[in-house]
């Protein structure tokens, strides 16, 4: 190949990114369901003829790089049988290299002068694909057959003609066919627009020119990635984080990994991780990789294009049949929680070589309460992703009201919930004293209380980090764990497990209260300047008692007692192992 023109490369990279972004905008705008529109739980990409991602509109970080495995799967089945006007559909983790069943791929080939030159691909989380619970993400599922309709890659359209059989079977198997159909149309509209823009580009610059730069783009991204990795210290860095486990008698599920850095290569090995479990938290390998990529992107400084080249310097090894590389028929509807934990474990391992580029542990991803039942003679289902507490960082306190690295989802306005569902939000506030103490404090937990106003509903919850609360780093303390309580109208209180596999019944007037985990601290709390501790007390983020107990700062009537603080901090230091030196 001729030497590349760095100006042309940048111009075409911009053009590829624009196409992926346009597709994302169109998909989001045209989608029906709030999960796509408001939670941005979808992704779009432009891939080359071999299925390698050229550009991805990253809306949900944990979809990063997830198209390549699906495309390889598709190509291996359809090579030689791909025509202009085809549209492919698929969702199965095992028969289509999918993510979990609610995530449906819509993929369209792009032809130019009769030649297959590229693909536009989309992935969207659909509101329902059948199975034992509305929303199709039952924690209590024991095999994938309970989770909904399974689609290998099929031609939803062949040479422009819709396959009515596939469409009809799909629509019959989902609880909300109009939402699913609307979102599928949105995905197809996005693919179509991407195709049009890419053909435009080929016409303007010439097909051979554009395609040769597509290849150069992978090399460029790989160079950037390797240059980053080369700056990381060499070595092998191990870490284990845990999911508390399923149901009322949880058995811990370890996520064990080792990050090995050698020169400009990086490998992540999950040997030691729990075997797959009988519950919907197993993750197929493509999703595990996406979580690994997300964690790595967050410690890299360069603005690396979201293309296949980025992944070439990174190897992910996960033994088959584990919770991070599940095999048929492991259920994986609620695998998001495991993805968050993979990222947490990755950042724990990376904190050893890269202490300045990670934060202490946060709340561990969204808590997802779900309420379903009947009200005014109509069925309703309400669930939301509530999140937003980080661990302390190298230069600032843990943030509150900011989602986990793996996601970027908004909360739902209280006024909207109360307008549409038989629920009243009684409280949504930050909990003082809950963040882990440290030089930089972990973010405080928040609490959200739901009063049920209908006749009867069932309640489930996906949360975590009760038995293994968010870890602190470099002497910082762990954040507090979650508390989930159902207060029945008669005054009886029931504490819920973190991962609810058997739903709880709610009656009119019952109140469900969920307090999130809080972030871990970063660095020794005794090194936190007195003034910062005082500010926290004045802002109501910590109490005077907590200031003294956790930070050794004695505050009296709005002022620091310096002498008493010095004495107290000295005494606390001498109880810590660091005092030996």
């Amino acid at each position: 190949m001729k030497t590349f023109d760095p100006i042309r490369l940048e111009v075409l990279k911009n053009a590829f990114d624009t196409i992926a972004d346009e597709m994302a905008l169109i998909l989001m705008r045209a989608a029906y369901s709030p999960i796509v529109r408001d939670s941005m739980d979808f992704s779009t990409a432009l891939c080359d003829a071999f299925g390698q991602t050229l550009a991805q509109g990253v809306t949900t970080p944990m979809h990063l790089g997830s198209f390549y495995d699906a495309m390889r799967h598709l190509l291996s089945h359809y090579e030689g049988n791909i025509f202009e006007g085809d549209v492919f559909i698929g969702n199965d983790p095992y028969a289509a290299a999918g993510q979990h069943l609610p995530d449906i791929y819509i993929i369209q080939p792009i032809f130019f002068d009769g030649r297959l030159v590229a693909w536009t691909t989309t992935l969207a989380h659909h509101a329902d694909v059948g199975g034992i619970v509305p929303g199709s993400n039952a924690l209590g599922a024991t095999e994938i057959y309970q989770e909904g309709i399974r689609l290998p890659f099929l031609k939803l359209y062949e040479r422009g003609a819709r396959n009515a059989s596939i469409w009809d079977i799909l629509m019959l198997n989902v609880r909300v066919p109009s939402l699913v159909a609307g979102d599928l149309f949105a995905q197809m509209a996005a693919c179509h627009a991407g195709q049009r823009s890419f053909v435009d580009l080929l016409e303007r610059y010439g097909a051979d020119e554009v395609l040769s730069y597509a290849e150069e783009l992978h090399n460029y991204a790989e160079r950037l990635t390797r240059a980053e990795i080369a700056q990381f210290p060499d070595g092998t860095f191990a870490f284990t984080d845990y999911l508390d486990g399923l149901g009322k008698n949880p058995v811990p599920i370890p996520i064990t990994l080792a990050v090995s850095i050698r020169g400009d290569e990086l490998e992540v090995d999950f040997t030691g991780t729990s075997a797959q479990v009988k519950g919907g938290v197993n993750t197929p390998l493509p999703f595990t990789k996406a979580a690994v990529f997300t964690a790595l992107r967050s410690v890299m400084k360069s603005d690396i294009p979201n293309c296949r080249g980025f992944e070439r310097a990174i190897r992910v090894q996960a033994p088959l049949g584990t919770v991070v590389n599940s095999v048929h028929p492991a259920p994986c509807g609620a695998r998001g929680i495991t993805g968050y934990r993979i990222i947490d474990a990755m950042l724990g391992a990376l904190s050893i070589p890269l202490p300045d580029r990670v934060t202490a542990d946060g709340m561990g991803g969204a808590s997802v309460p779900a309420f379903g039942g009947w009200h005014d003679g109509k069925p309703f289902v309400f669930s939301e992703t509530v999140m937003g507490t980080w661990g302390g960082a190298p230069t600032h306190d843990g943030q509150v009201g900011v989602p986990h690295m793996g996601a970027n989802q908004a909360n739902i306005p209280v006024e909207m919930i109360e307008t549409n569902y038989p629920l009243r939000i009684v409280r949504y506030e930050i909990v003082p004293d809950s963040g882990g103490a440290g030089r930089y404090r972990g973010g405080n937990a928040f609490v959200r209380e739901y009063e049920f106003l209908g006749d009867e509903a069932v309640l489930t919850l996906r949360s975590d980090k009760h038995d293994f609360p968010p870890y602190g780093l470099f002497g910082g303390k762990a954040g507090s764990g979650p508390v989930s309580v159902l207060r029945q109208k008669e005054g009886h209180e029931v504490t819920l497990p973190v991962l609810v596999t058997e739903p709880y019944v709610m009656k009119k007037g019952d109140v469900f209260r969920h307090r999130s985990p809080a972030g871990g601290g970063y660095g020794d709390a005794l090194d936190r300047p007195e003034g910062m501790v005082l500010d926290d007390v004045l802002d109501g983020l910590i109490s005077e008692a907590h200031a003294a107990e956790a930070f050794g700062v004695v505050i009296e009537a709005g002022h620091v007692n310096h002498a008493a603080t010095a004495v107290r901090r000295d005494a606390m230091k001498c109880r810590s192992p660091a005092c030996d030196s």
């Binding site: 111009v11 169109i26 529109r37 990253v58 900011v402 306005p413 009243r424 004045l538």
Partner: protein, 697 residues
Amino acid sequence: MVKKIRVASDVGGTFTDSIAYDEVSGTITVSKVSTTPENRAKGTVEGLKRAIDQHGASGNEVDYVGHGMTTATNAVIQRNGALTAFLTNHGFKDLLEIGRQNRPTLFDISIVKPGALVDPELCFTARGRIDASGLEVEPLNEADVIQAAQAMHRAGVKAVGVLFLHSYANPGHEQRARALLEQHLPGVHVCASTDVSREFREYERASTTVLNAYLRPVMDRYLRSLYGMLVDETDGLALRNDVPVMVMDAAGGLMSLESARSRPVSTVLSGPAGGVVASAHVARRAGIDHIITMDIGGTSTDISLIRKGRPEITRSAVLETVPIRIPVIDINAIGAGGGSIAWIDEGGALRVGPMSAEAVPGPACYGRGGERPTVTDANLVLGRFDGKSRLGGSLSLNVEAAFRVIRDAIAEPLDITVYEAAAGILRVAHSNIVRGIRVVSVERGYDPRDFALVPFGGAGPMHGSPVARELRMPRVMIPPTPGILCAMGQLISDLRHDFVATHIAAYADQTEEDMSELVLPLVQQGLARLEREGIAPEQRQIEVRLEVRYVGQSYDLPILVDFDARDYWKTLPVLFHEAHQVRFGYADPSAPIEIVGINVTAIGRIDTPVLPSLAHGGSTPPSQAHAGRRKIYFEPLDAHAKGQLFNTPVYRRSELMAGNVITGPAIIEEVSATTVLYPGDVLTAHESGNLIVEVAQ
């Protein structure tokens, strides 16, 4: 000779632009002075004086003053608004802190969400609840409110924002709390959420309310000072006190000084609005309805799309992560401007931005210590504008410095010539802007090829042709005085007030009568407001938009209805399906639709001046328009050819006549900007004063 002079000024972060238009002689004068941050009113009066002087007139001959400013925007960016408290429902003390929980960047842990405008210790709660239908669930606990007022008093707050859940459905608790607070906090500005917005979504409404409260004392002080200086006969402008002074709002409408004082939040983001309104206005004069505006500044480029002569209005804007729910012109800002820095990344690609040289040190050619090449340096090296010309009136430019930094940082590492490097910087910068324009058009369902590109800002007309070509847009229109177009917007805009209500109900469950009953009070409010402002009945106009969506969708489209016509209700679904088809590429006429909101705009036409027309000439520009030739480097149109130097003719815009045709390469210079015609572009001077360029494809 009698004069009829209208003036306007636009106060930006660095410069204050002024314009004075004498309707009798049809002449426009402009001035550019440095903004005076200690009191922006000073620079405003100074700039206006200079513009008026050029007419040989004085301040008491002025009949109209328009004003646009970034005072409110700056107060938010610099966090120097008033000490503000917040009162809300019991259980929601941290509403402002938690927000909507979005993260500002996906992967960068070092970027922290800025704190709320109100400190946690100044957030208070009171018991009492209203439900979604407006019914009282629990009465307001007035003792809680009074206790909060006492704490606010002790803290010395200057302003208070109040939001109670579902106040859009029943503002009773909010109004009572506001009255109690005003009673216990004399001299403090108290703002209830329903005073600024009646839309649901508590966080956005709270944020808008708090921002309004936060800005009120600041804006009150500024506008008093400004008016005082305008009418001051000795040191000020000596304006007659019967002359209207109008302030630009973010939706591109004008508001009275009084309105601006009580609703300062409406002036946030108004800076770029004037240019968009002026573009739409001058394009209509040239018979062009569909345009995309491109305002290139030092650090960013503002992009906006106008169809049928109407700027698109949105109600969800964000300033420094503070969401604002007010009508604003839909403007997309991207981080590419004259000061964007060019660099080579570790992968070997030439990048431009997102870092900017800002005003200080600025581009290398400014000679203020800038050592990194910028887009402005590239333009200078390529000869696109004259090194001896003065940017903004105070700088002479150092071509050698620009040449040196491009050579050292780009050309030598890439082993290409300095010209190729400079042209490469422009191509990459253009591809960034192209991306922004595509996003704006595609997101709204339009193809940029159906629009004319209107570049403005001092640098805009240098980049219009190549950006349009990359987007395959056939035409570029250079407006008059492109460097100070924002100020012109304040001369030609209308009074505008928006009234918005949340109302969620299925279309099938309502009749035209039901809907009219809800719309009519808003219409009457609008008309009453215009009447109070002295707008004659024939100059009043009402626009009604219903916000409609398919049942089950979570976003809506505003549909303009002909409220005075019978059967507007019947035609609504048809209009909605059409709009949906345009915007999203599909429509489903069989699917049920619902209404989610009502938006009434009251427009008061103040008699807009007629802008001057160019005298007609032949197709050849008159000899006095010629200003010599310059050697200018152009990158090739064909993506595969090499660039070359052209001995390029330079023209004076002020001497061009309607009908003059110029074929590129050519340069057209004027006081506020430089237009670059690429080889093959064909420019025609239009009698409307615009330059219309057919872009070589």
